[in-house]
């Protein structure tokens, strides 16, 4: 049986200020109060500020979570000097590049952009030979006529009308322009992440056997809303000619479910190389914009985020996935915080003869607190780390007075955009691989939770976890 490992990671932030207005919350609020648009637009950040924003630099790997912990809050006031949009395991791309990616991912002529935007997009998109010739625009007159004569969504670039995405079928809400916009944005950002993953990683696109997309978008038509998938669609664009795939839906916990499944596929020999991916969540753009405006801070949910991971046989270069130390929150476990963490963290460790302090780093939902706190939503990772520390106290592993130390040394500040499934512990994987290669850590545990109750079909929460280990740890 092969020992599975996470071999490589890639992360992308797509700065998309003109997409914010079409997040779920802004769409609703701006319809009720159109005068808010100007206020919201004025509070959006320019490219340089987005690149220099410390949490974004952590997301792409130029800073470590420990570096971020040492930067005083608010991080908004401490831009990183001479920040680069390119990092060791991630990159920040412009909105023009995002439009270009959406064009080259569009196989149904859903999206039309202006000639001017197409020119910028072609200059911004790197690679994708064979598809980049799809990045063409139309003149302003034709664009205006298209917008005037069809059902769809008008798209903007630098605040100006620059594109249009059409509604495919007026009587099919699943193929409404807004839904297609979300799905195409998810596909495009995922494509960039998988492309980067395979360009810089240990395997070529044709080596990928299976793709597991973990994004939350509902792809399908009116007969099977959300029943479709993006995995194969993404693989097609990046040339994974030998792969098929399926989407894993588990709210925010999907990436962790998918990595465990990928590990099992590799271990069983079903597939040799599996790519787990997640595209950006357009619906969550500007989710807390009202709170940001009230607090006089920029509207910070201005980037789509995506990620991709190679899971394959351990070759000594990545992080071993301990399939015998995975946690799950079973239906019968009860939903108290104690029951959840017992099932996700303590039980798997105890089964393997370990305790909570045998794990060097825990990665929980890594939402950037600077985004959530203005809405009085608290610091999600900090709350989770304090709960883990309290669990260690109850188990007698640490003294009560050592809780802060536990949180500081085994936790980390949140640095992920609030993009649903993206923050689910997995933004740490790039850093974990680096820290294992340098010998800084031996073990890390990734813990994710999913709010199943949001769909109104159960009151249950969900959760899963896995442990990774340094390959040098024999």
């Amino acid at each position: 049986m092969a020992v599975p490992a996470i071999l490589h990671t890639a992360y992308v932030l797509a700065h998309a200020p003109d997409f914010v207005r079409y997040g779920s919350k802004p769409t609703r609020e701006l319809a009720a109060n159109p005068s808010l648009l100007q206020q919201m637009t004025a509070a959006l950040r320019p490219w340089d500020q987005v690149v220099a924003y410390p949490p974004n630099q952590v997301f792409i790997g130029n800073l470590s979570p420990d570096d971020l912990a040492a930067i005083p809050r608010p991080w908004l006031d401490h831009p990183v000097a001479e920040a680069s949009p390119q990092g060791p395991f991630g990159q920040i791309i412009t909105q023009a590049a995002l439009y270009g990616l959406m064009m080259l991912c569009d196989d149904f002529e859903l999206l039309t952009i202006s000639e001017r935007l197409a020119e910028q997009a072609r200059a911004a998109v790197v690679g994708f030979e064979g598809r980049r010739d799809k990045i063409v625009g139309v003149d302003d007159g034709r664009l205006a006529a298209l917008i005037a004569g069809n059902e769809g969504l008008t798209l903007y670039h630098d605040g100006e009308v620059a594109g249009f995405i059409r509604t495919v079928h007026e009587l099919d809400p699943s193929l409404d322009a807004h839904v297609l916009f979300e799905n195409l944005a998810c596909k495009a950002t995922a494509v960039q992440a998988v492309s980067d993953l395979l360009a810089g990683g240990p395997i070529d696109p044709v080596d990928v056997d299976y793709l597991l997309n973990t994004g939350e978008e509902a792809v399908g038509d009116r007969y099977q809303r959300g029943g479709g998938s993006l995995s194969k669609a993404v693989g097609e664009v990046v040339g994974c000619l030998n792969a098929t795939g399926a989407d894993i839906k588990a709210f925010c916990a999907a990436p962790v479910h998918a990595i465990n499944m990928a590990g099992a596929m590799v271990a069983s020999g079903l597939h040799e190389y599996v790519v787990v991916l997640g595209g950006g969540s357009q619906a969550k753009m500007g989710m807390k914009f009202r709170a940001h405006l009230r607090n006089g801070v920029p509207v910070m949910e201005d980037c789509l985020a995506s990620m991709a991971f190679v899971v394959g046989p351990d070759d000594g270069s990545g992080a071993r996935l301990r399939l015998d130390v995975t946690g799950k929150h079973p239906i019968g476990a009860g939903s108290s915080a104690q029951a959840v963490y017992q099932a996700l963290v303590v039980d798997p460790l105890v089964r393997a003869g370990m305790g909570m302090t045998d794990v060097d780093r825990y990665a929980v939902e890594l939402h950037n607190p600077e985004i959530t706190e203005p809405g009085d939503s608290g610091d999600v990772p900090k709350t989770n780390y304090r709960t883990l520390a309290a669990m260690a106290v109850l188990r007698g592993e640490i003294e009560r007075g050592a809780m802060d130390e536990f949180v500081a040394s085994r936790g980390m500040p949140g640095f992920s955009p609030t993009q649903g499934h993206i923050p689910a512990g997995v933004p740490y994987l790039g850093h974990a691989l680096a820290a294992m290669r340098s010998g800084e850590i031996r073990r890390a545990m990734i813990v994710a939770k999913g709010s199943l109750f949001l769909g109104r079909m159960t009151q249950l929460v969900d959760g899963v976890s896995f442990l990774i280990e340094s390959p040098n740890d024999d």
């Binding site: 915080a337 104690q338 009085d376 608290g378 709350t383 309290a390 009560r400």
Partner: protein, 107 residues
């Protein structure tokens, strides 16, 4: 607070009357606990939902308050709240919920 939930709280307050009704909160930090307490007493401070400008003045308590804890089954309480008693800033949470319950922030 979720807009749908605000509508439900509003309806229940009308149906039940505040003498026989309490709102019980479970938020893990002082700011979010305060936000919810404010919403069911003074009205929705974010002016987004059905309770915007609707000062229901409901009696609101947090699960971490001593006078709530002592009415509950101790084993069950330990099982469900024991961790949060250790991890949360109990004094601050209780302070803010009490502040709004006792009419704070009005005027």
């Amino acid at each position: 607070m979720d807009l749908d939930d605000q509508a439900n709280v509003n309806r229940l307050a009308e149906e039940t009357g505040k003498d026989e009704m309490i709102v019980l909160l479970g938020q893990p930090d002082p700011n979010s606990a305060g936000l919810f307490a404010e919403t069911v007493t003074r009205g929705d401070p974010t002016w987004a939902g059905p309770l915007a400008g609707v000062p229901l003045g409901l009696p609101v308590y947090h699960i971490l308050e001593e006078e709530i804890k002592e009415t509950m089954d101790p084993d069950l309480y330990q099982e469900h709240v024991g961790l949060m008693e250790l991890s949360a800033d109990v004094d601050e949470i209780v302070k803010w919920v009490k502040f709004y319950r006792e009419g704070g922030g009005v005027g």
